[in-house]
């Protein structure tokens, strides 16, 4: 079991989660974060911290594709443990549905 980052993180990337995560298991893409499922200890601290409510426990069946995406990109993107300024237009994209199809970037972010 692990927590996973889902659709609403894309283009919002508020990064509040990285500061509270006790095990530094967030990895940064160009416009979203992911959780490394083998490093997450399922403590759940990050879930209520996310202003976009984009973090969920992986128990739900419909999160299977997100678990795969988190696992795949956590191996490629750089680790992030220090919060930076979120994108200036984060709020405009907060809540927009199906952002994966429209905006997801596989490019790595800056990391720490």
């Amino acid at each position: 079991m692990t927590y996973v980052v889902t659709d609403n993180c894309i283009k919002c990337k508020y990064m509040d989660c990285v500061e509270v995560c006790p095990v530094d298991c967030f990895y940064e893409g160009d416009n979203m974060l992911v959780i490394h499922p083998d490093e997450c200890i399922d403590c759940g601290v990050c879930e209520p911290e996310c202003p976009a409510e984009a973090i969920s426990p992986d128990g739900d069946q419909h999160l299977e594709k997100w678990l795969r995406l988190n696992a795949e990109y956590a191996l490629i993107w750089p680790n992030i443990t220090i919060k930076r300024e979120p994108p200036a237009d984060a709020k405009e994209f907060d809540g927009e549905p199906n952002k994966l199809e429209s905006y997801f970037s596989p490019q790595p972010g800056r990391g720490d």
């Binding site: 079991m1 692990t2 500061e19 509270v20 006790p22 095990v23 530094d24 499922p37 083998d38 490093e39 997450c40 200890i41 399922d42 403590c43 759940g44 601290v45 911290e49 594709k65 795969r68 995406l69 696992a71 795949e72 191996l75 443990t81």
Partner: protein, 135 residues
């Protein structure tokens, strides 16, 4: 342990009491004691400090702990899945001795999730091939 008044809120002080009492039990526990002793090697002070920071991060979102518990547990020789259940029982008992029911439950629930997650990571690791499958 006898506590005159149980603690009804999660606080740094409560976490310190919990950690001190719990690890006092762990040290003399026939199952857990020897496993911990092999790793801690008598340096319980720094270990308890780390555990206080860990629980503070988990229960109070303080960000005080930053570490990698999965690799730390992977390095422990002689660790077995049933030890986690034993650990949870002892931890749960200690929580009940120190905290009011609701607070004890909150600690137990977190501990159970984390233990399950560590167990999965240690004994049923995701096949790395499945983690690199594309969407």
């Amino acid at each position: 342990m006898r506590v005159d008044m149980k603690i009804g809120l999660v606080s740094e002080e409560g976490i310190r009491i919990l950690v001190d009492h719990f690890y006092a039990k762990v040290r003399v526990d026939p199952v857990l004691g020897p496993v911990f002793e092999r790793v801690v090697r008598g340096k319980w002070g720094p270990h308890l400090e780390t555990m206080c920071n860990f629980w503070s991060s988990v229960m109070l979102t303080s960000g005080r702990y930053k570490g990698a518990p999965v690799p730390a547990h992977l390095r422990v020789k002689g660790i077995e899945p049933q030890m986690f259940d034993h650990w949870l029982r002892l931890f749960g008992e200690t929580c009940d001795e120190i905290f009011e029911h609701e607070v004890a439950e909150a600690f137990r629930a977190k501990a159970a999730r984390i233990a399950e997650s560590l167990k999965l990571a240690l004994f049923f690791r995701l096949n790395p091939a499945s983690a690199t499958r594309s969407l």
